[in-house]
């Protein structure tokens, strides 16, 4: 079953990287948006939500336009020796972009649900802003952020359209499970397709179950 393990390992690597990047990027953007008092906020939020509604192929096309060798950033990246098109790193960028709104939206809702009075209390008790974030805001939002991150992981696991556009379908290098499933069906290999479909389904169900189990409800947890 070498044909299963190689794309599975690649898919997990890509999905984990995309989730990790989104945990930093999505949480930072969400926190900034939740504290930003401006009418422009909802406009920015709408733009950041676009990956959720645009067809992944459109996102992939945008990525090619920006990151391709003749793209806006591509030429500059090329001179630095960074190649994103037809690489697994390109697949990470595609998955990160597609899954970003899931983390950002969940994190923003979680930060907005934190009682501002608790942050005020922490300031009066002598904390700097960064400490208020790490000791009060972030732990109280952790439940929502974790749920968002696991959704993002499941979404990244299944990413197809944008990944195919920028990373292509190179077995062993950029062929993730969902791309491999498509290739297997095209080649008439229904057995391989079935196995991979079941693996992806099981992983996504596990991620969703984990979302409920991992996130402790801090407001209710206690010791008798």
């Amino acid at each position: 079953m070498a044909s299963l393990w190689v794309p599975l390992a690649l898919t997990l690597k890509v999905a984990l990287w995309a989730t990790a990047i989104n945990l930093v990027l999505g949480v930072a953007v969400a926190f900034a948006l939740s504290r930003w008092r401006s009418h422009a906020r909802e406009v920015v939020d709408s733009i950041l939500t676009l990956p959720l509604v645009l067809p992944p192929t459109v996102l992939g096309y945008y990525l090619l336009v920006v990151l391709g060798r003749r793209g806006v950033l591509g030429g500059w990246l090329d001179r630095l020796g960074i190649e994103l098109v037809f690489t697994w790193q390109g697949a990470v960028i595609a998955s990160t972009l597609v899954a970003f709104p899931l983390v950002q939206k969940a994190a923003r809702a979680a930060f907005e649900a934190v009682d501002p009075q608790l942050e005020g209390a922490a300031r009066v008790l002598g904390l700097r802003e960064a400490a208020v974030f790490f000791r009060v805001s972030l732990p109280l939002a952790a439940r929502g952020i974790t749920a968002g991150a696991l959704l993002a992981f499941a979404r990244a696991m299944g990413e197809f359209g944008a990944t195919l556009m920028i990373a292509g379908n190179l077995p062993g290098r950029t062929q993730t499970l969902s791309v491999a499933i498509y290739a297997a069906v095209q080649a008439g290999d229904d057995h391989a397709a079935t196995v991979m479909v079941l693996v992806v389904s099981a992983t996504c169900v596990a991620a969703l179950l984990l979302a409920g189990w991992l996130a402790p409800d801090h407001t209710r947890r206690s010791r008798p």
């Binding site: 009682d115 009075q117 608790l118 005020g120 209390a121 922490a122 300031r123 009066v124 008790l125 002598g126 904390l127 700097r128 960064a130 400490a131 790490f134 000791r135 009060v136 732990p139 109280l140 801090h218 407001t219 209710r220 947890r221 206690s222 010791r223 008798p224």
Partner: protein, 221 residues
């Protein structure tokens, strides 16, 4: 030893406009700011704590300038040495009683650990009879215990001024009388500089402090 407050702040939203123009000065150790809800009491308290910024005026405590609009001084809340007990206590729900009390003792980006016991936390747990619930979360303790945790958390860093926002409003009437006596006894025992805001005349009577009565953003007495 004195409190010298003079603040002006105007707030407006779509529905209404509110002008706060408060000034009082006192050397009393117990100060009660009394007035109906919406009079500007909480706004005054927030300005003193550094959680809100007045448009003009000054806040001085024991000769320390905490805020002075004319001199462009606005000491951040974290450096004011002022403690604040919120109306609903604002205890950190993700931390235990002992972690809440030790919160101010630990700088940096990490909360006190669950099993960590600073001697000052132990002292506070004993003073407020909270040793039995030290490892409980705030949601699992009684209203009276929550108020004691809030007081202990505020006092652990030895503030020069303790602000209390409607400290008894969240308690049931039976407990209210007892907690008033407890607060009075505590103030006398530790010689705390105390400022309480309340809408309840019974608090004014029980605390026997210097009373500032405010109404519609102005001092009336």
């Amino acid at each position: 030893m004195s409190i010298d407050v003079a603040i002006r702040q105007s707030l407006r939203d779509d529905a209404r406009r509110f002008e706060l123009d408060i000034a009082f000065e006192t050397a009393a150790r117990r100060v009660v700011v009394f007035g109906p809800s919406g009079a500007g009491k909480s706004l005054t308290l927030r300005a003193m704590a550094g959680l809100g910024r007045p448009d003009a005026g000054h806040v001085r405590v024991d000769g320390h300038v905490l805020y002075d609009a004319a001199a462009h001084i606005d000491v951040p809340a974290r450096d004011r040495g002022v403690a604040y007990v919120f109306q609903d206590y604002a205890l950190f729900p993700h931390l235990t009683v002992a972690q809440n009390i030790g919160f101010a003792l630990r700088g940096g980006w990490l909360n006190p650990r669950r099993r960590e016991r600073d001697p000052r936390v132990v002292q506070m747990l004993a003073l407020f009879e909270l040793a039995g619930v030290a490892d409980s979360h705030p949601s699992r303790i009684s209203g009276g215990q929550r108020q004691r945790v809030a007081l202990a958390r505020a006092l652990v860093a030895e503030p020069r001024l303790l602000l209390l926002d409607e400290p008894f409003a969240a308690l049931d009437p039976a407990l209210r009388g007892r907690m008033r006596m407890e607060l009075l006894a505590l103030q006398q025992r530790l010689d705390l500089q105390l400022l309480v805001i309340t809408h309840d005349a019974a608090d004014v009577e029980a605390l026997q402090g210097h009373t500032v009565e405010i109404r519609d953003g102005r001092v009336v007495r």
